[in-house]
């Protein structure tokens, strides 16, 4: 067995599962902020019910985002100790910032948001959700800064074989960063929007008694998804230029790639410096899915006079298209990540130098154990999500008023620390 292959498989498995959940987290929290803002501004109880229903699904989905995220964070040290040894000075900084200013605050805010219903003033409660959203976007930003550095190392110099940070602003103006960030964030909005539209469509197709409620979220979800798919396409195609220039070996053969491979062969020795074919096949499929989802725009005019609901078949189209963004997310990451093989940091650190020098048996045990664990949890989580989505908005546990307070309201004990 090959430790390197096992470590790569484990990272691919964890990162893929992680991405399926965090994309929904990012997309859904944005819509949720809109719903709760509408509730606070208008005072319309329909928006409160919408916030509770979609908030509950958001919170269930969030669990696996954290779980897989923590495993990823540890995996850098467990399986890729060379990564921190050789490029940790540069690559570690954005990751450290992400955990401190984004992940840490996001969870703190979310805990207060879940338990703050009926306890905090509405404005404070809403502000917490804004905090959750902003830190979620900050998280996406810093992770993409780190990832873009691996795609295109900048702002460093190598001394004694170790990369040292010289110019942090170069990391922020990395040409591999901004278009990719826009692409990923709009893909998350697309996923969140389509999930909202599809679940609403399911309820509407079954003639739910909550017609008005799900009509609202269908419209919100569909319009968001339609706007997002155009952004996804725009940012996606805008990436071909810069990525092709930065990573000549990523796409099909060209003269620049041949020159680069000759240079690498001289510096790092002979080897296979072309990524596996898999990366580009996936890219093709992803682009097909992107075009297919562009047809969502055809459904938008049907929102007029609720034709989308009255005709019924558009609802089914929306439901059937739900898996597409998830498949595209995975394929997109495969194109980006497998496409830079055999490098961890493109042209700087080959994967075989970055992998931890541990026995293949240990790595295999870890791969099987964590993949089974996260796989089982992911499936369980989706089952729970589906059940709660199907149950409808009658009475979600999130934001349910606490049990009737005791008759004498002032019997609440003093804080024990006092």
């Amino acid at each position: 067995m090959d430790t390197l292959l096992l470590a790569r498989l484990q990272f691919a498995a964890t990162a893929s599962v992680h991405f399926l959940f965090v994309a929904v987290t990012l997309g859904l929290v944005t819509l949720l902020v809109g719903l709760q803002t509408a509730w606070v501004v208008t005072g319309n109880p329909r928006y409160e019910r919408l916030t509770r229903f979609w908030g509950q699904l958001y919170v269930i989905n969030y669990v696996l985002g954290i779980a897989t995220g923590i495993v990823m964070e540890f995996q850098f040290g467990l399986n890729w100790s060379g990564l921190s040894r050789y490029v940790g000075n540069v690559f570690g900084a954005p990751l450290a910032i992400e955990t401190l200013v984004a992940f840490f605050l996001e969870s703190t805010f979310l805990g207060m948001w879940i338990f703050g219903w009926h306890r905090l003033r509405r404005g404070v409660h809403l502000a917490l959700l804004y905090g959750v959203m902003l830190t979620a976007y900050a998280s996406a930003f810093w992770i993409m800064v780190a990832n873009s550095w691996l795609q295109n190392p900048v702002g460093y110099e190598v001394r004694d074989g170790v990369a040292h940070l010289t110019d942090f602003s170069a990391l922020l103006s990395n040409p591999a960063l901004w278009m990719a960030l826009g692409h990923v964030v709009s893909a998350a909005l697309l996923t969140g929007g389509l999930l909202m539209a599809a679940i609403s469509a399911w309820h509407l197709s079954r003639r739910t008694p909550d017609h008005a409620l799900f009509r609202t979220s269908l419209r919100l979800g569909l319009v968001t998804a339609a706007l997002a798919i155009s952004l996804v396409q725009g940012f996606g195609f805008a990436q071909f230029g810069p990525v092709g220039a930065l990573q000549p070996t990523k796409f099909d053969g060209n003269p620049e790639a041949d020159a680069l491979i000759a240079d690498w062969t001289a510096r790092f020795g002979a080897g296979d410096y072309l990524p596996p074919v898999l990366a580009n096949v996936g890219l093709g499929f992803m682009i097909l899915i992107g075009f297919a989802l562009g047809l969502l725009w055809l459904l938008v005019p049907l929102l007029w006079r609720d034709w989308i609901i009255r005709l019924r078949f558009p609802l089914w189209l929306i439901m059937l298209s739900l898996p597409l963004p998830f498949v595209a997310l995975i394929l997109g990451w495969i194109a980006r990540e497998v496409g830079r093989q055999p490098w961890v940091a493109y042209g700087l650190l080959p994967v075989e130098q970055a992998v931890s020098p541990i026995s293949p048996w240990l790595m295999a045990t870890s791969l099987i154990g964590f993949t089974l664990l996260l796989g089982t949890l992911a499936v369980t989580n989706w089952v729970l999500l589906a059940r709660h989505a199907a149950r409808g908005a009658a009475d979600p546990a999130l934001g349910r008023p606490p049990a009737q307070p005791p008759a004498d309201d002032d019997t609440r004990p003093e804080p024990a620390f006092a």
């Binding site: 923590i70 040894r85 450290a96 992400e98 306890r119 240990l362 606490p402």
Partner: protein
């Protein structure tokens, strides 16, 4: 500069052991009794703090990666089985607590509660072994890599793992006496006192095994500090037990919190100026300065992260303040 970051790393990891520690302690206590209402009430006591507790670990590992990249890879990969055990536990607890009340059936909830119990056990055990692994030195070769993982399997590591399990159990029980409704808290007091007593026994046992271990004696740079801090730890536990006897759960919880933070200080201070002491090649030992990132990186992190530190701690404090006091009929139940 390196020292400040090392202290910050210690602060976040110790914070995690204190805060995550009572999560795991409460988790372990779910094993006792089959009364679903009690289990739900115990989880409601942890309720609003749960999500904010575990992220102290995430932040600690973030600092480890950003400020001590050399240490990060060797520590985690070099203690692979222990870290993987702890990580499995962390994942099981985080998923178990947040998902256990989402199914409606009592059977499914009971199954999730068993997941939480196992997860809490694994997390405490794993982190105990990681700390012991540091204290007993690692086979760090001249190439800078830790050779193999069998160095972890020693009586001292086992005793320390066990000691941390009893510590979190005692800490969790003390937390519940402080936070659950007064009647329930009173009922838990004898159990908490018993658990603190067993933690004292386990910590003493681990200390004796450690003092008898050649590797620990060789790795300790300041053995006296180590012994002193251990005495302090046991003193904190005794104080906690006495405070529970006098119905002062707030004082008792503070004391068990100190007892959970001390192991981190103990490891850091006993090994200082080293962070990884090599058992095979003295010259290969890694000092805190060598393990730290280069000055430019530390400066950057200092400018970007440190100004936000008050906000991080402030929002955590806000959470503790909003949800202070005992849980009662008006407390929201969600987990």
């Amino acid at each position: 500069m390196e020292f400040a970051w090392y202290a910050l790393l210690g602060l976040f990891f110790a914070g995690y052991l204190v805060l995550g520690g009572y999560d795991y302690g409460v988790g372990l206590l779910l094993a006792r009794g089959t009364d679903p209402a009690y289990r739900r009430a115990a989880l409601a006591a942890v309720g609003p703090f749960f999500l904010g507790n575990e992220v102290w670990l995430v932040a600690a590992v973030g600092i480890l990666f950003g400020a001590f990249p050399m240490l990060e890879g060797e520590l985690l990969a070099g203690s692979y089985p222990a870290v993987a055990t702890a990580l499995t536990g962390v994942i099981l607890v985080t998923a178990g607590v947040q998902l256990r009340s989402r199914p409606d059936s009592g059977r499914a909830r009971a199954r999730w509660d068993r997941v939480i119990v196992v997860g809490s056990l694994l997390a405490a055990l794993g982190w105990g072994v990681v700390l012991a692994g540091l204290l007993q030195g690692v086979p760090l070769g001249p190439d800078g890599h830790v050779a193999g993982v069998t160095h972890l399997f020693t009586p001292f590591a086992a005793a320390t793992g066990l000691a941390l399990v009893t510590l979190v159990a005692a800490h969790g029980a003390t937390f519940l006496t402080l936070r659950m409704p007064a009647a329930e808290g009173d009922r838990l007091r004898p159990l908490a006192r018993r658990l603190i007593a067993s933690a004292i026994v386990a910590v003493t046992a681990a200390t004796v095994v450690g003092l008898l271990s050649d590797r620990v004696r060789a790795a300790a740079q300041r053995p006296l500090v180590g012994v002193l801090l251990t005495v302090l730890l046991i003193g904190a536990l005794l104080a906690a037990r006495a405070a529970l006897g006098r119905r002062r759960p707030g004082v008792a919880f503070t004391a068990t919190a100190v007892a959970l933070a001390l192991p981190v200080l103990l490891v850091g201070a006993t090994l200082w100026p080293y962070v990884l002491v090599s058992t095979i090649e003295p010259a290969a030992s890694l000092t805190v300065t060598d393990a730290a990132a280069s000055a430019a990186t530390l400066r950057l992190l200092g400018w970007l992260a440190v100004p936000l530190l008050p906000a991080l701690l402030g929002f955590q404090a806000m959470c503790w303040w909003i949800f202070r006091g005992r849980t009662d009929g008006r407390a929201l139940v969600y987990w």
